[in-house]
């Protein structure tokens, strides 16, 4: 995934950005001086339930841009072309201008959401084969489910187009499942949009937790926008977690393919500038929570003649080594580790110090903003005391 530094970028990334072409629920499209190229900006805004529920998820746009870029590069390296050209700084992609087809293509591997509601299938039921569904992209009609016949009758596409959409959708499904399995993510279902360009049909829009159902392969935890739709909480965490897992994948063996699959400008995509962080996590019982160990140790110290003792509390020190793209990412990940497992927020608080142990970051031309803003050996700390 790419950083903000534009040194070494190809001319495509220096295209002047012109006026806003369109603003949607999750993204803004800008024209550039090249009529064949658009700039997509990912927003934090989130809507659900056909626009009834509105909100914003912290850093969602940033994560979605990175996650989509990862998938587009990965798919390109496996022969599945898309409109994606390159990342162009934080939250931004340069993409080929395409004529978007008014058909949303949904692929389902597991029953969930509207399929479960419509057909009374239990969420989580593995389908015998991937289902491809078409929806008519029409806000006024609330994007209704349509059959092939409907699509033909409405003149949205011809038979060949529909075959091609289905073929590409199934191929993309197969490729995404392969990489997501490695990341410990179950690909439940996802929505794709396609566009016409030079007589062909190419993948467009985005592939992110906004458009996919991702479930943790182990716990079944939702790692997608369902957390927002269903008021499950921790939305921001879900996006960060998907990003973290994809970032951790070693895709270096296909870096060449990744680079040729998109613009040369984007050849920095990969793991070369990722770095290792050492974290020391201290977990303490909250003040006021009885600490029987501390009481016992205190007694033993007194028995050893330490009369001036004012109290002893026993906590834990947990050392974690992790790989992350930036200090900020390492911090987000650590906070999640603490919140989910290392500390119990009912009785404990945590803080951690974080230091980099690798210098590879500072020598990379595409080091991200998080790394370039401080000394690589610096120490920062995070703290949390969930209410």
């Amino acid at each position: 995934m790419t950083g903000t530094d534009d040194r070494g970028m190809a001319p495509a990334n220096r295209l002047a950005v012109l006026d806003k072409l369109y603003e949607g629920k999750a993204k803004i499209l800008h024209r550039t001086e090249d009529p064949g190229v658009l700039l997509v900006e990912y927003k934090d805004d989130a809507t659900a339930l056909d626009g009834l529920k509105k909100g914003s998820i912290e850093k969602k746009g940033w994560y979605n841009a990175e996650i989509s870029a990862f998938f587009f590069r990965y798919l390109a390296s496996r022969g599945a072309k898309s409109h994606f050209i390159a990342s162009a700084g934080e939250r931004r992609h340069l993409v080929r201008a395409v004529e978007i087809l008014p058909i949303e293509v949904v692929v389902r591997n597991v029953a969930a959401g509207s399929l479960s509601r419509r057909l009374g299938l239990e969420e989580g039921l593995e389908l015998p084969f991937p289902l491809v569904e078409f929806y008519y992209k029409n806000d006024f009609l609330h994007d209704p489910f349509i059959t092939r016949g409907h699509a033909l009758a409405l003149g949205l596409a011809n038979e060949d187009d529909l075959d091609e959409l289905e073929r590409q959708a199934l191929q993309i499904n197969k490729l995404l499942k392969e990489v997501l399995t490695i990341a410990g993510i179950r690909l439940v279902d996802f929505k794709l949009e396609f566009g016409r360009r030079d007589g062909g049909i190419v993948l467009a829009d985005e592939i992110s937790p906004d458009t996919c159902r991702f479930w943790d392969a182990g716990s079944g935890a939702r790692l997608d926008k369902d957390r927002f739709r269903r008021d499950m909480g921790d939305e921001a965490w879900a996006y960060a977690e998907v990003y973290r897992r994809l970032s951790a994948l070693n895709v270096s063996d296909s870096d060449d393919a990744l680079a040729t699959g998109s613009a040369a400008a984007d050849s920095q995509g990969g793991a070369a500038w990722r770095t290792t962080w050492q974290a020391a996590v201290e977990v303490r019982l909250k003040p006021g929570v009885l600490d029987p160990q501390g009481v016992a140790v205190s007694g033993a110290l007194r028995a050893n003649g330490f009369d001036g003792l004012d109290g002893v509390r026993v906590g834990k020190l947990i050392e974690v080594a992790l790989t992350a793209a930036s200090r900020a990412e390492a911090e987000v990940t650590l906070k999640e580790m603490c919140r989910r497992l290392l500390a119990n927020p009912v009785i404990e608080t945590y803080r951690f110090t974080l230091s980099s142990t690798s210098s590879s970051a500072s020598t990379s031309p595409s080091a991200s903003a998080g790394l370039s803003s401080g000394s690589a050996s610096g120490v920062i700390s995070g703290e949390g005391a969930p209410a």
């Binding site: 716990s219 929570v289 009885l290 029987p292 497992l341 009912v346």
Partner: protein, 243 residues
């Protein structure tokens, strides 16, 4: 009635629970490995005691992320009866299926001894046949049974009648002396908001066979069966119907 007894790496009361349920209480119990992905066909779930994952980090902290726990949570949400015993209780707390947390025993010792608990609520499948105020003799065996929750949480548990068992003396008095571990309000067991999820530190499976000195624990399993067979049968079917 089919009851799943979940086996985590480090569970050690799984066989006892299985035996007591199958051979004494007369339900059909099956051991279910923690990696299981489904609980289809089961009418109740028991998380047994032991030392899942060596109690590393905190008792129950790692087991709560076992694959089966997603299913247990879904089962509980549908209203299915779930009983966590000892380490099973700790797992339910860590999983957030019950409120609060366990601290180390105030005595700092592992308490393995007979104990008396008073039935505080008959509003759960596991106590529906028991009389409130009844004193049961059921043994405990734990190092972390010192129940803790913030004052507002404790107040809610009390107000909503969700304290299910309280440590007491043989005469039913919940005194400080009768509290084996320092637990807040002498709490030995609590229920979730719907009443279908119950966690308790004492081991009913160890008080199911007269040979072991008490059959008071057996009544908890029998209550579950009676609840399911009787009035509860309909609601259990409704809960299972969505599965």
């Amino acid at each position: 009635m089919r009851v799943a007894v979940v086996v985590f790496p480090g569970s050690n009361c799984d066989r006892d629970c299985h035996w007591a349920l199958n051979n004494i209480a007369g339900v059909s119990a099956e051991l279910v490995w923690h990696a299981a992905r489904g609980l289809g066909g089961f009418d109740a779930v028991v998380l047994p005691g032991g030392f899942s994952y060596g109690d590393y980090l905190r008792a129950g902290a790692i087991a709560r992320y076992a694959p089966v726990m997603g299913e247990v949570a879904a089962f509980a949400r549908r209203g299915g009866p779930v009983l966590g015993i000892c380490n099973g209780f700790q797992i339910l707390l860590e999983a957030g299926l019950l409120p609060g947390a366990m601290l180390k025993n105030r005595t700092l010792t592992f308490r393995c001894r007979p104990s008396f608990v008073r039935v505080e609520s008959a509003g759960t499948p596991f106590t529906a046949s028991l009389e409130e105020g009844r004193v049961l003799s059921v043994p405990i065996a734990h190092a972390e049974g010192n129940y803790f929750a913030e004052p507002d949480v404790l107040a809610r548990l009390e107000d909503e009648g969700r304290v299910v068992f309280r440590y007491c003396d043989r005469n039913g008095r919940a005194t400080a002396e009768a509290n084996p571990n320092g637990s807040a309000h002498n709490i030995a067991g609590i229920a979730g908001e719907l009443g279908n999820v119950v966690g308790m530190m004492p081991h009913p499976e160890r008080a199911s066979d007269a040979l072991l000195g008490s059959t008071d624990g057996l009544e908890i399993f029998q209550s579950l069966l009676a609840w399911w067979t009787g009035l509860g049968k309909q609601s259990a079917a409704a809960a299972g119907g969505q599965a």
